[in-house]
Subunit: 348 residues, 2 copies
Amino acid sequence: MASANSTAQRVTIRDVASVAGVSTATVSKVLNDRPDVGPEVRQRVLDTIARLGYRPNAVARGLRARHTDTIAILTDDLEGIFTNALMRGVEDAASAYDVSVLLANSYGDPDRERKHLRRLLDRQMDGLIIMSGNRVRPRSGPALPLPATPYVFLYEYAATEPVPSILPDDRGGAVLAAQHLLDIGRRRIGFINGPASWEATADRLDGLTATLAAAGAPLRPALIRHAASWSPQDGYALATELLDAPEPPDAIFGASDDLATGALAAIHERGLRIPEDVAVVGFDDRSLAVHQRPPLTTVALPLLEMGRVAGQRLLEAVNGGQQRHELIRVPCELRVRASTVGAGHTPR
Amino acid sequence: MASANSTAQRVTIRDVASVAGVSTATVSKVLNDRPDVGPEVRQRVLDTIARLGYRPNAVARGLRARHTDTIAILTDDLEGIFTNALMRGVEDAASAYDVSVLLANSYGDPDRERKHLRRLLDRQMDGLIIMSGNRVRPRSGPALPLPATPYVFLYEYAATEPVPSILPDDRGGAVLAAQHLLDIGRRRIGFINGPASWEATADRLDGLTATLAAAGAPLRPALIRHAASWSPQDGYALATELLDAPEPPDAIFGASDDLATGALAAIHERGLRIPEDVAVVGFDDRSLAVHQRPPLTTVALPLLEMGRVAGQRLLEAVNGGQQRHELIRVPCELRVRASTVGAGHTPR
DNA sequence: CTGAAAGCGCTTACAG
DNA sequence: CTGAAAGCGCTTACAG
């Protein structure tokens, strides 16, 4: 691919050197804040740089210095529901280090992953973030061996790889929700969990179960449901079952905001008050949560923070830090809103 | 930022040359598919490359060849509702050219935009896509002059810049919806438009008005509403107004899927049948549309295609093509579902 | 058809 | 403290 970019002659380090009357080595030292340059020479160089509007060529620097100050995100789903927030976290962390972020989409296809990895390696990436945009799950190692390039997994993990995986603390998130419901005096808590095939499902059930048991209000098997999908429709149907049971719950915890939204509708339909009769908590804190009636209390997935941690961990490794296999669980946060604590809400 | 990547000595073009018994110039020619290499020499070099597992260093190539085969997306909102699909389109187009995509997020802040632009220029990007993740709107030129680097705008435009802007054909999308409703025999069409401050709002109203007028069934002022937001809540409230009017509509066109969803709820609540009594059409084709009851007929925003067109146009310019100021409107597509054509749907 | 030489724009020991 | 020289790994005229 040829380039059309060469109208004005670019200013190079040689131009700066000759105008300032020094060597390029000296200019380079000033550029890189080396101590071994005299104060007045340094100032003269600095002035010349400013006057000529000189900007170092990052490609040349990269070739010589053997690092590009660039990391790549390789995702399996660029349109995954959580992809953006994760990427933003990574971009935040990278920006703070003045590192750029390259984007590659494998569509979850190992062949594409391999191709992208090859290209990324050719481009001398300093490090890689291999991420899923969908859900926590185990995967095999990179489709191409990466002997000399640090990498981390984000929102997925590989049991065999000697690198960190950044994951949400789903179990801890459920603990927060459970504790909150206990705190507001609920004891008959209904749980609408997600599909059993997701890891988050087991983790969240575990956190809820343990917390309620510890509080002496164990989760009743009759009040647990597993949805076939994470959709509001399923939430509606299963909440209806719970509400129609002989001993209906005084709170419903949905394992996703969508499930909880369906529960909201079912409760409204029965003319029950939220939160007085039934409190509702969701999970994820997607933007729809705050727009519900009443606004939905929910457990926020720490996506931004996960992205940041991934970026930081990677950059530490790029700078020489040791990596090892570890699962880093980033804590969730409870967002308390009117569906559990509030002015009370009657059906419209 | 120092690098930790130097375990195994990398294979260079010199290694290939010496093993194959030729000069590096010859290897380079083979690499770049130049015609002036003898067939048996070419084969020998190819074999050596394969045997040594040689991969050209893209950074060195970039320095010498003066292009990096990399473009950047500079977005004002990495979590915008349409950002992903647009980016995926760009990534698709770039991948086809074997070009990589760098990602930068300005948060809509001119200072950050300038900083990113500077960094991107330092990194010798071949071209830039400056995009909005939110909505079509005019903006000023790049926060930094880009005299030697091609760029295009995506989902936003700048009146003064001599480059293309890629936009959705909102007007044409409304024409499709209107024509469809006419085709299924509707004549009293209600329109719930979005907030007046959005350009899409005027464009869609225009397309609808023109199409209905041309068909001899002009849009009745009494059946037009402007929502204060794009939310389902507003759609619900305004659809209720329309349905309670003396001459209620036999179809409702919502300027977003969310608005249309609210209309669905209002129609259900009145015990009316969809589409028999009232047909409903949305706009955007977000994933929720297909999950409605009944599934929502809607006008799909051509986000992927817009991203692809942006990528292609940019890459053409990078390869020397002329750029000029133009607004490229990518056609929307109608997705016909049961809310306008179907088995009929009674309230649940 | 092939290769020696120069050079892309920097940084890095090293000598003084 | 400063600079001459070498070199990062390629590609590009150019000579033969």
